[in-house]
């Protein structure tokens, strides 16, 4: 390849964010009626979304007041991703989360007390306060703090599960695609036909680096390079997302083939705390399901207040608990 070829082959810098079109048949377009949170399911989804939102806001508040140790990474703006996936994943499925995993955990277990106790090092902590925000293991849910590390591990879990109908789901971000382990795992998953579901939360920014400055080409093309199907999600509507994804995720189980699902989403908060280098106006203008949703306004306001109250209570309760105990440090 000549230098000229190299130049002409480079796709536009926006490609990584815009090329989300799906390998699946076009989803049914008429979904407006699914917006209204009138059903019990939709109300439960709304409650869960708001629980995660207020949990994350409470964490930033606690940090601001110096009441948390270390660091945290909130998923503000991305809450709908794990909420949409919740009914599509079962207890036999392994879920591998990452550094930005509070939403993943809360969507699976709805246990703000255990998670906050873990983050605050208080009695009742899921992992005795050893793991903290980004290292949590509960049943078949596990998070780790090193980028790309969990994808080969998830492939191993998928190998263990192959043929059982269960799958291994691994959440990664757009930045994770810089890690070589991702490609080693995708290659193995495709070769060995592993039931591996990769959920990419492409929030357009890796810590402080815009995706357009750290990812050449597209995630879709990268998946395709391994013969792995890719499906892009731009909607934030939970019912619509589920309708799109249910048959695809089912096929991971029945056909035992890996699948990459890429959500185009937005990180509304800092990477960790107080470290957002984006202009405030740019962040304010990012789409937010919280502001843009088609929920019934009265019902939304009630649910919002209820979630806020619940989280306030959790914070008071957990903060008042004794410190967590770990036998190795007794």
């Amino acid at each position: 390849m000549t230098a000229t070829d190299l130049h002409t082959d480079v796709p536009t810098v926006d490609a990584a964010r815009t090329d989300l079109h799906s390998d699946a048949p076009a989803a049914d377009a008429a979904r407006a009626e699914l917006h209204a949170p009138t059903t019990e399911v939709a109300r439960a989804d709304l409650d869960l979304l708001l629980l995660i939102r207020h949990f994350e806001l409470a964490l930033l508040d606690l940090f601001g007041r110096g009441e948390l140790n270390g660091t945290t990474h909130t998923c503000l703006g991305q809450e709908y991703v794990p909420v949409a996936l919740t009914p599509l994943l079962g207890p036999d499925d392994y879920v591998f989360s990452n550094h930005r995993g509070h939403g993943h955990y809360l969507a699976r277990f709805e246990d703000p007390e255990g998670l906050l106790a873990e983050i605050m090092g208080r009695e009742g902590a899921v992992c005795s306060g050893v793991g903290g925000s980004q290292h949590i293991l509960r049943d078949r849910y596990l998070s780790t703090g090193v980028q790309g590390e969990s994808l080969p591990v998830g492939a191993g879990a998928a190998l263990h599960l192959r043929g059982s109908g269960a799958l291994a789901c691994v959440y990664i971000g757009d930045g994770t695609w810089g890690e070589g382990s991702v490609y080693e795992a995708l290659n193995l998953a495709s070769l060995w036909r592993l039931p591996l579901l990769v959920i990419v939360e492409n929030n357009g920014i890796a810590q402080s680096t815009p995706t357009t400055r750290q990812l050449a080409g597209t995630i879709r093309d990268r998946a395709h390079a391994f013969g792995i199907r890719h499906h892009g999600v731009t909607s934030t509507d939970i019912s619509e997302i589920r309708s799109q994804l249910a048959p695809l995720i089912e096929s991971v189980r029945t056909d035992s083939r890996p699948l990459v699902i890429e959500f185009e989403t937005h990180r509304l908060g800092p990477h960790s705390k107080g470290d957002d280098t984006r202009p405030p106006d740019q962040v304010r203008n990012l789409p937010d399901w919280y502001r843009q949703s088609g929920w019934n306004p009265i019902e939304f306001a009630q649910a919002d207040q209820a979630a806020r109250t619940r989280v306030d209570q959790v914070v008071r309760d957990v903060a008042a608990r004794p410190l967590s105990r770990w036998p190795a440090c007794e």
Binding site: V130, E149, P152, V153, G156
Partner: protein
């Protein structure tokens, strides 16, 4: 029986006895059977659980860690131990940490096998002894293969411990005979440490501690020094290098005039330095002099035989170290 056959047989037994055991690695399938032929025949016997992988040390070790997390037993072969650096994150940051970082103990039956060491002219990136880089990692055990330890017992101990283990296998041992000792020597064991001595171990002038790959060189030095000078040494060959419990060895160590620790690692931050520190902690008041370390020089490992020999720990290096320690 050769060491390679013993190890092959131990792996076969493990796969047969444990239906949840997997073996993963590059080029390990028949008819090739692995770069050093250690896995020969196993993929034919257990085609679903002996898996040939792409050249992806991080990926395959991560897959093995995932299997271990799910309750399986996973054995990984890294073709040349030098390449284990590519799997360092999976071993250190995932597998080893998972044992304890989630608050309660998570059993992880994972063994990473690393053909190791020089003396075969493979050059700087195919000859190293990287044990020292895995010493002192919480949740991780380091073992070394030896012709004095049955690999069935060693493999079984590693799996039973239910924590990740890195198993260093000095390549020069594969073609050696198991338990093949010169008539000059006698042997017994102290825990999992093989103890080789001449006549009465209580009267040895010098105690040498050396892992399996170096044992032959240590025995050669012991033999020569005895024949030339009637100086008696005894040799301790541990199976597990880390964590290392020095206490059962203290009676043997405290009786000697000198202690030498020999290993093939290059200089600096060595396993021997860690063991010497433990011995000093226990015996500082009675030692006649500090423990002597013998190892390869502070250098990359050259390919040309005459250069490689200058860098790597030789029988003569141990010989010199013993005499210096007793001087």
């Amino acid at each position: 029986m050769r060491v390679a056959e013993n190890l092959n047989s131990a792996l076969g037994d493990l796969l047969e006895q444990d239906p949840k055991a997997y073996l993963l690695g590059e080029d390990i399938l028949d008819p090739y059977g692995g770069a050093f032929k250690i896995t020969r025949g196993l993929s034919t016997r257990f085609p679903d659980r002996v898996l040939g992988t792409p050249i992806s040390e991080s990926g395959l070790t991560g897959v093995a860690a995932g299997l271990a997390l799910c309750g399986d037993t996973a054995i990984v072969e890294i073709m040349f131990g030098d390449f284990v650096t590519l799997a360092f994150d999976q071993i250190v940051n995932f597998a080893a940490k998972s044992v304890s970082m989630y608050g309660s103990r998570v059993p992880m039956r994972l063994v990473v096998r690393c053909p190791t060491g020089g003396g075969r002219g493979y050059g700087p990136t195919h000859s190293q002894s990287l044990q020292k880089h895995f010493i002192g990692v919480p949740g991780l055990a380091v073992y070394e293969m030896s012709a004095l330890h049955d690999n069935r017992t060693v493999l079984s101990a590693m799996v039973k411990a239910a924590q990740p283990c890195v198993f260093f296998e000095d390549k020069v041992l594969y073609t050696r005979r198991m338990h093949d000792l010169d008539g000059l020597f006698q042997r017994d064991t102290i825990g999992d440490v093989a103890h080789v001595f001449i006549d009465d171990p209580a009267t040895a002038d010098c105690v040498i501690i050396a892992p399996g790959g170096v044992a032959d060189r240590a025995l050669g030095a012991m033999r020569q020094i005895f024949l030339d000078r009637e100086i008696t040494c005894c040799l301790l060959v541990p199976s597990r290098l880390y964590p290392f419990d020095v206490e059962p060895l203290l009676p043997t160590l405290s009786a000697a005039k000198a202690i030498v620790i020999a290993e093939e690692s290059t200089a600096g931050g060595t396993w021997g330095a860690e063991i010497a520190h433990q011995i000093h902690q226990h015996l500082w008041q009675t030692l006649r002099r500090p423990v002597t370390l013998a190892h390869s020089t502070d250098s990359v490992i050259p390919t040309a035989a005459h250069l490689e020999q200058r860098v790597l720990l030789q029988e003569s290096t141990i010989h010199t170290a013993i005499l210096a320690a007793l001087s």
